[in-house]
């Protein structure tokens, strides 16, 4: 069949997503790797000090990685149980009318801009946490974790719900027919059957939390230290890029170092996406 | 002497590796209704879709032999599949008006084939809708959504859409399977009228319908054409044992 001009161009449009992905990676490599000329990769990743404007500067991003990991783990402690709870509730318990009312709330929760979450955290949650735990400052890893957890909840909930609601009805009926009650059916039949989709949901939730920028920039406290204490300020990778890119002169070591952080972030999130893809396939 | 509109010679068709039509030879008489009947999966719809090459849409379809429309091979001689489909219209099993207005549904094919003159278009639309006996029912609501019509009206609209571009052959793929008896009767009567102008081929698994509407009947089984003759003859004195078994309800 003859194809017209646009039809012939279509594959190019479809391949653009890969062009953009490769473009992003390429740019991060080009702009990020020069830092490794002055700071070896190993020292960059495992260096314990991030003093980009000191003389001489130090570019060790371990505290930033730790900051990212802390707030992500904290967020998951909230997002996984509550997100899965929402998913199971929506697909197993809610009737149609309830679902049509409640589901938009979760979608709206996903739609709240991250800067509004950050703002909310700054003006309400941080002072509260400061008071309750008698801290000198309310902007801590804990504060950021709570807000990030709420932000990642809809991601976990919506993907897990897709997985759970695609479990065949026959499985549930078989379980009920054997005398199992609803909770037993959920925990022993439905959730195990939807296991791989639920894993995918969790992994994408991790991606959401680790890549979030504005919220952590505003409420994690931005202190580049390594600490096991959740009630101390931390500085995740994303916040570092957002906060410092404006001041880093183009082409300076600092500038390249920030792109290198971007590269680390990019590789982590791409890795997570590919893992999630593997789980979704099953 | 009967004039033959479509002639298939040694026609074979495969979907992937599975044969669907096996060595079909059939000559479809002009200005008559030809019914193709047989149990589900016998290839009758596939054969129908050979005549307007709608099978081309399915990947992995292979075809051998020849199919002639007015002595032109539709797979080799015709300029393109679109001019073939202008000559060979089709009405489907699942009633399928477009989600557009009644008017737009009928106009669709005209626009596709380059009609520009507004007055001519309107006249043609009106004529087509009159021909399917729908005019009095829809003349005041031509710009309402086609889905506001009843199932039977929708199917007659689909027929109007097919004949608006003045085809020579109209293919009906079980056009009444989702309709009530009254709508079915209307469509059957319509076919009777349409054969004055068009060559009609209808696929049906309903024996009574084949007996009622057709002048000629083909009986297919497992991709083979078992018997083809005048309808009267086939229903009274089938030549093949398998046809007889089918007509008497021994299988199918």
């Amino acid at each position: 069949m003859k194809k017209n001009f646009i039809e012939r161009l279509l594959p190019i449009f479809a391949l653009l997503t890969w062009v953009f992905l490769f473009g992003i990676m390429l740019i991060l490599f080009i702009e990020g790797t020069p830092i490794f000329k002055s700071v070896p990769i190993f020292r960059f990743i495992f260096g314990r000090h991030w003093y980009p404007v000191h003389e001489p500067p130090e570019f060790g991003i371990l505290p930033l990685i730790c900051g990212s990991l802390m707030v992500t783990v904290g967020a998951l402690i909230i997002a996984i149980p509550f997100g899965l709870g929402c998913a199971i509730y929506l697909s197993e318990i809610a009737n149609r009318a309830v679902r049509e009312v409640v589901k938009p709330f979760i979608e709206m929760l996903a739609g709240v801009p991250s800067v509004v979450y950050g703002f909310f955290g700054m003006v309400l949650l941080a002072p509260m946490i400061q008071k309750i735990f008698h801290l000198s400052i309310g902007l801590t890893a804990f504060t950021a974790s709570v807000i990030l957890g709420v932000m990642a909840l809809p991601t976990v909930a919506s993907i897990a719900e897709d997985a759970i609601s695609s479990v065949p009805k026959a499985l549930r009926e078989a379980s009920f027919a054997l005398g199992a009650n609803q909770w037993e059916t959920i925990t022993r039949v439905v959730v195990p059957a939807a296991k791989s989709g639920i894993f995918a949901a969790i992994i994408l939730g991790i991606g959401r939390a680790i890549g979030e920028t504005m919220t952590v920039l505003m409420i994690a406290g931005c202190c580049a230290v390594i600490t096991p204490n959740f009630f101390k300020p931390v500085r995740p990778m994303t916040a570092t890029i957002a906060a410092e890119m404006g001041e880093a002169p183009m082409g300076s070591m600092h500038y390249h170092a920030l792109f290198a952080i971007g590269l680390v972030l990019f590789l982590i999130t791409i890795g997570l996406s590919l893992i999630a893809e593997r789980f979704k396939e099953r | 002497m009967v004039n033959h509109k479509i002639i298939a010679k040694n026609l074979n068709l495969w979907y992937g590796n599975s044969p669907c039509l096996k060595n079909i030879n059939i000559s479809i008489p002009e200005n008559a209704v030809t019914a193709i009947m047989g149990p589900s999966g016998c290839g009758k719809s596939t054969l129908l879709r050979v005549f307007n090459r709608l099978n081309d849409l399915i990947d992995g379809t292979r075809i051998t032999g020849e199919v002639l429309l007015d002595e032109q091979d539709i797979y080799k001689d015709m300029k393109d599949v679109f001019s073939l489909r202008k000559k060979v219209g089709m009405v489907f099993q699942k009633v399928n008006p477009f989600p557009k207005t009644i008017f737009e549904n009928v106009v669709y094919g005209l626009k596709i084939h380059g009609w520009k003159d507004k007055a001519k278009i309107e006249k043609q639309v009106q004529k087509s809708i009159i021909d399917v006996g729908l005019w009095d029912e829809v003349k005041d609501c031509l710009h309402k959504n086609a889905f506001s019509l009843s199932g039977g009206q929708q199917q007659r609209l689909c027929i109007a859409r097919a004949i608006a571009i003045e085809p020579e052959v109209v293919l009906f793929d079980e056009p009444c399977s989702s309709l009530d008896p009254i709508s079915t009767a209307k469509i059957e009567q319509l076919m009777e009228e349409l054969k004055e102008k068009y060559t009609i081929i209808i696929v049906t698994h309903n024996l009574q319908q084949a007996a009622r509407v057709s002048d000629y009947t083909a009986f297919m089984l497992l991709g083979e054409l078992i018997e083809f003759s005048e309808t009267n003859q086939m229903f009274t004195t089938p030549k093949d044992k398998r046809t007889e078994n089918y007509l008497t309800g021994k299988f199918g």
């Binding site: 279509l10 479809a14 739609g111 950050g118 909930a157 505003m218 996406s273 | 399928n96 596709i112």
Partner: protein, 282 residues
């Protein structure tokens, strides 16, 4: 014992959903109450005055509008054409799978990384500078996966009978796509696009280094001008400047405008989807 376990389990599910709903309402209500106090016509239609301590947020509203429009102009055609290719043309299973993996991976890239890409490519390499154009292109790449996925779903939902009927009257594939498939899928595509706009309007990190400025007296007159934007305005009011007792109330006002905007956008999308589902007759 079994009964009690079930009761506790089902209660936990209800608590999860309640947590999500309450989190959303808490943010919405808290910000609305505080924000509506400063909200009036002047606030919406005036420019900022006295070093950000007085006046309104008109330029930020306009800036966000421009950025959103630019984003859609860029991302919508690309997204729809990609989806058309994936559903209607791509024959090779491996190819479509690869493209879909790319779409998912792009969706998982952190927003700040898009910002870095936009900075290096649009601002620097293409020399568009910090501008509406750079920001819209960056946001466009970010929301491309949203639009592709929504369009794919909408196109896939077009019944094959419509397409067959169109082919049967002699239409070409391209005529069938433009006259039947696209109009039928349009409501779904619009829903996806609206969700994409909501996402773009609320994002801060991608425009941080590519499009925004803290303060601008005049409205932009070309796509190569930098702009103010609502999300960035909130961030800037909370973290820059010295007169926080004046700036925080303005931030509340800005937050309620942004939240109202994004929530209405999401709400419209949800409504269109529900109505579309009910109106569907085929």
């Amino acid at each position: 014992m079994r009964k009690q376990k079930e009761l506790i389990g089902l209660l936990a599910l209800r608590v999860s959903i309640l947590f999500a709903v309450i989190s959303f309402l808490a943010i919405l209500i808290f910000i609305s109450i505080k924000g509506f106090k400063v909200l009036n016509i002047g606030f919406l239609l005036e420019v900022p005055k006295d070093g950000m301590t007085k006046g309104g947020i008109f330029p930020a509203i306009i800036g966000t509008l421009y950025l959103s429009i630019g984003t859609v102009i860029f991302a919508l055609p690309l997204g729809v054409l990609s989806a058309i290719y994936l559903i209607e043309y791509a024959k090779h299973k491996g190819l479509t799978k690869t493209i879909r993996i790319g779409v998912d991976a792009l969706a998982g890239v952190p927003s700040v990384v898009f910002g870095l890409f936009g900075l290096a490519v649009f601002v620097k390499l293409f020399n568009f500078g910090v501008s509406i154009l750079s920001g819209a292109l960056t946001l466009g790449i970010m929301i491309l996966p949203v639009i592709i996925k929504a369009s794919e779903e909408a196109i896939l939902a077009v019944p094959k009978e419509f397409k067959e009927a169109s082919f049967a009257v002699g239409a070409t594939k391209w005529q069938t796509i433009t006259k039947i498939v696209f109009p039928t899928a349009l409501p779904g595509i619009i829903t996806g696009t609206i969700l994409g706009i909501g996402r773009a309007a609320g994002e801060t990190a991608p425009i941080l280094f590519t499009a925004v400025t803290f303060y601008q007296r005049l409205l932009p007159h070309s796509i190569l001008d930098e702009v103010m934007a609502l999300p960035y305005h909130i961030y800037a009011l909370m973290t820059e400047g010295t007169a926080s007792e004046y700036q925080v109330p303005i931030a509340y006002g800005t937050a309620v405008v942004l939240l109202g905007l994004v929530m209405s956008i999401n709400f419209i999308a949800i409504l269109i989807r529900i109505r579309g589902r009910r109106a569907k007759k085929w």
